[in-house]
């Protein structure tokens, strides 16, 4: 697919003797929501990390907006994570010392924005995700679903073009998970961000525009007639 915003080609990644990815391809267009599915241990998270430039593939390329992530130095890659990407993981991505609003404001502050301005913007996002009352609580004091909404707010606060979500509802019950997915898909539709949604749940994958299956480190896309 040409004109893809984010594209992985023949990505191979091994951890010691374990081959996590054995030639994975994936292309995501702007504003597209793609579910990455597959059994546990198949390499979904590894693919996501490679796509986000968090880990470097052993071979193969990852390009974002025409730029090769593999050849990028730490500083511009970090800047990319700060401004162009957003992350929502299963849990643990919030800094426990900071309040929710400070957590959401973090990418802006790391980008050099003044505290007051950054936190005002963060509060707006908390409102959009219907968790404004949690602003001054610490992550330790909120429920799993609320924490995920805070995490989504943080992922979206800097106006990213790609959201990387790894099992964002993995620790949530069906109803809470659905709320989180609804809010997230609503928000990305509003902002036009693309989403890489790693999940093994079909009901979560159903929020995506299309799905890619990872099996034994390889991607497979099924085109139906």
């Amino acid at each position: 697919m040409t004109g893809a915003l984010l594209e992985a080609k023949g990505v191979v990644k091994a951890f010691g003797p374990t081959a996590a990815l054995a030639g994975a391809d994936l292309a995501i267009g702007a504003g597209e929501v793609v579910a990455v599915m597959g059994p546990s241990g198949s390499g979904k998270s590894t693919l996501l990390h490679c796509l986000a430039g968090i880990i470097a593939p052993d071979s193969g390329t990852v390009t974002y907006d025409g730029r090769d992530l593999g050849g990028m130095a730490d500083v511009p890659r970090s800047a990319l994570r700060r401004t162009e990407f957003g992350f929502v993981f299963q849990f643990g991505q919030l800094v426990p010392e900071l309040t929710c609003v400070e957590n959401v404001a973090l990418p802006l502050r790391l980008d050099g924005r003044r505290r007051r301005k950054a936190e005002a913007q963060a509060r707006e996002w908390l409102v959009r995700l219907e968790v404004e009352e949690l602003a001054d609580k610490r992550p330790g004091e909120v429920s799993g679903g609320q924490g995920q909404r805070v995490a989504i707010a943080r992922a979206l606060v800097s106006g990213p073009r790609v959201i990387f979500a790894d099992e964002p509802t993995g620790a949530l019950d069906s109803f809470t998970g659905e709320r989180v997915m609804d809010l997230m898909t609503q928000a990305v539709r509003d902002t036009g961000a693309a989403v890489v949604l790693v999940t093994h749940e079909a009901r979560v994958a159903a929020y995506a525009d299309r799905e890619v299956v990872v099996r034994d480190g390889r991607t497979r896309e099924v085109a139906l007639a």
Partner: protein, 174 residues
């Protein structure tokens, strides 16, 4: 699902005209298909005959649908008994999906391909259902959820089957 009990259930909420009844039924239970008028009236007359509903007034005018129906005490008992009775868990032992996988396997085809193709199809349906949920009201959401969970269950079964087969293959092949 019993149409009689569904109509009784709708009447348990409030008396309705035949046409309203059909509309409500289509909204909540139709799943895209409408109930023919004939079937509505046939069912209603059976319920009248059994004393579970009664006519509770006639609308002035001369349209075909002037009668209002209300539930009787017997009818309420009947609906309540129906609600309280568990449904027999349906065993999908004879579903087509099952047959397909077994046949694919017997034919020596790649089971994962069957699974992937089926998943793609299932997900397409699930995507539509998820989209419908977004627009629909509560009843829509409930019915979509119901369908989604069933499809989800199918997929899980498929994935589990595939994993089992992979395990089995590992045992058999080397």
């Amino acid at each position: 699902m019993s149409i009689g009990h569904s109509l009784l259930g709708l009447l348990r909420q409030e008396p309705r005209h035949g046409y309203d009844l059909k509309r409500a039924y289509d909204d909540h239970f139709g799943q895209g298909r409408v109930l023919p008028y004939g079937q509505v009236y046939a069912t209603l007359s059976r319920l009248l005959k059994n004393g579970l509903i009664e006519e509770s007034g006639v609308r002035p005018g001369n349209g075909p649908d002037r009668k209002r129906y209300a539930i009787t005490a017997d009818g309420v008992t009947d609906v309540d008994q129906w609600l309280g009775r568990p449904e027999k868990p349906e065993l999908y032992l004879q579903s087509t999906l099952y047959s397909k996988v077994v046949i694919a396997l017997m034919a020596g085809l790649d089971a994962s391909e069957v699974v992937d193709t089926q998943r793609a199809a299932h997900l397409r349906s699930m995507r539509e259902l998820t989209a419908r949920k977004r627009e629909g009201d509560l009843a829509d959401k409930l019915i979509c959820d119901h369908a989604l969970f069933h499809l989800d269950a199918d997929l899980r079964w498929l994935e589990l089957t595939e994993a089992r087969l992979a395990d089995l293959g590992k045992l058999v092949r080397p």
